[in-house]
Symmetry: C2
Subunit: 353 residues, 2 copies
């Protein structure tokens, strides 16, 4: 049996109110990772990130990826016993060589280091190379925000989005993430991909013979398509054409070119390409809220209040800020059994054997 | 007569190849600003920014604003003799109180300070408050990029864009700006507003009885409209719905809430509201390219080459990176007389009297 007490201590979000049923699931994920040679500490970090993704409703970053992580460990393209190196560049700046660890672990080390640096000097900048898919950027942003810091996080991802003018994908869905404390229960966490539509939604439409909205994808010949099967063989489009393409490119430069990670379409698809590690790069920026103003708490509260009080479009009950919906789902899912599909249940059964 | 030699010295972009005709225009703008009580130095900084906007084809940030700046000085809502205070927070971090200077001047001081801080410590963070409209973010990004730094610049602006779910505008077109050296003549400068369409284009459509594309604006009742007149009375929509709205909100927080500037829709329209200074906030982030890798120059060159070599959508000749088009226009306009509309010529005549 795994003692739950130290987990309660280290985690400030999850597990405080979690019922037995989710503790069991958490323990199961942890056990699976330990069976796949992760240390107990790394298995805990990874299990927490996966459970969190399920709670907030980001199923594409949750249990649906567990088998993939284990497969990559088995095929030796994720290193279960990494020697992660942290290099101090200055009091504010650190570099992490993740040694092909599972992404959750290097991201967890990186955000903690970025927090430490910002607490010490006002600003933290931490780059990670030789990492892998780390789940949701917002999960790490939350850690910084809980420590009363503003944060910006960038990571690249395998090719999914065509640069503006191209008919082949090269950029990942490259999220832009920004978080700030709100001095309320619900932090402001923007965590937005720069593609018009999530790949998961295209897969869902394909399986269910549904049409895609127009303007979200091109077929393999570079022609706009609303056919999900053709879209899967083609490319996804960035938000807002040249603008979104530029934002995706910015993220590839910040998280790949700058950090020493893979870039320019070289990040391997974790589900399909086992020919080597992903070598994803991440960049974490953190800074104190009170560098320039004494009353950041009142200012941000006032800012949010002003937006929320605007007259609404018909049918809209509340103007939400980024992070509110995820928090709602999180609270809703925290105290109930998480629904797991038959396929994933079967995967879990096999993985724990 | 104004001696042109010191200008050539301080400017690294403009004036190297500029013909007499544009020098004359530059001198005229400078004289107009001096007539409106700006110091010679501040008049030079402002004239350069305005000429640059004309060269790159961003006419909405060029001569079309000159009268507005002068009007605001006359009505004492821009301070022509500001006492700009620079406060050192740390070796990396500085705060600037612009004392309601014309925006160009405080932005110029800020980017120079951000460059200095990054050169010294690897990273620079500079916040500005009590500033005004500073023209194009990309113009300042270029300064940092020329000094071999990566940069991110945020500024807010008067209400133009409705937050997602609202039928009243509150966010400005709040640009996101990112720049990196490319080790070629043309820097990578992303400078993108988060609105679907520029306000200038809506004004143009209104004057010429043209329809707007769908999905770019709402009328004053919150209903989607393609009628430009109704759009002008209504609100502009952010790119990509909730995502773009979140990005605009992020910029308002970074440049307003954090810096001590106005935010939450309180930045006054510079053309219409003379009841007080704008108190716009700006945030400048700069860092060295070689913090984490030794061969950033090769990496960024390789990155751009890989994207440019992708197969293209039919009709596309070249995949462009952000900044390329503006650079092309800049080069094109540098050696020829800038076309000035009759209205603006008349304004210039009156202003110089």
């Amino acid at each position: 049996m795994i003692n739950i007490i130290p987990i309660v201590k280290v985690s400030y979000i999850i597990f405080r109110f979690m019922k037995h049923i989710n503790k069991k699931l958490y323990n199961l994920i942890k056990e699976i990772f330990i069976k796949h040679k992760l240390s107990s500490e790394h298995a805990e970090i990874s299990a927490k990130a996966i459970i969190n993704a399920e709670f907030v409703g980001a199923y594409g970053h949750g249990l649906s990826r567990l088998k993939m992580y284990c497969d990559r460990i088995k095929k030796k393209v994720i290193n279960p016993k990494p020697k992660i190196k942290i290099k101090k560049i200055s009091q504010s700046i650190s570099q992490i060589d993740a040694d092909n660890s599972i992404g959750f672990v290097s991201a967890d080390i990186a955000i903690k280091r970025a927090i430490k640096n910002a607490k010490k000097t006002g600003i933290g900048l931490v780059a990670v190379k030789n990492s892998g898919h780390f789940g949701l950027s917002g999960y790490y942003a939350e850690q910084a925000v809980k420590k009363n810091l503003v944060t910006m996080i960038y990571t690249n991802a395998p090719p999914a989005v065509a640069p503006y003018g191209a008919r082949k994908s090269l950029f990942g869905t490259n999220p832009i993430c920004f978080g700030t404390p709100t001095y309320s229960k619900v932090p402001f966490i923007l965590d937005t991909s720069i593609s018009m539509i999530n790949r998961g939604k295209i897969r869902f439409a394909s399986k269910n013979n549904m049409k895609l909205p127009s303007g979200v994808a091109l077929d393999k010949f570079g022609k706009p398509t609303t056919n999900a099967n053709k879209a899967l063989k083609g490319v996804q489009l960035p938000i807002a054409g040249f603008r979104g393409s530029g934002l995706a490119w910015m993220v590839d430069i910040l998280s790949g070119v700058l950090t020493g990670g893979n870039h320019a379409g070289r990040v391997k698809d974790p589900f399909e390409d086992f020919s080597g590690p992903q070598n994803i790069g991440h960049l974490f920026i953190t800074f104190k809220t009170n560098l320039f103003v004494k009353d950041y708490n009142n200012r941000i509260k006032d800012n949010i209040k002003k937006v929320k009080r605007l007259p609404k479009v018909k049918g809209v009950k509340e103007i939400m800020y980024p992070g509110q919906n995820k928090y709602k789902r999180y609270k809703m899912n925290l105290n109930k059994e998480i629904k797991i599909s038959k396929i994933i249940k079967e995967e879990l059964e096999i993985l724990k054997k």
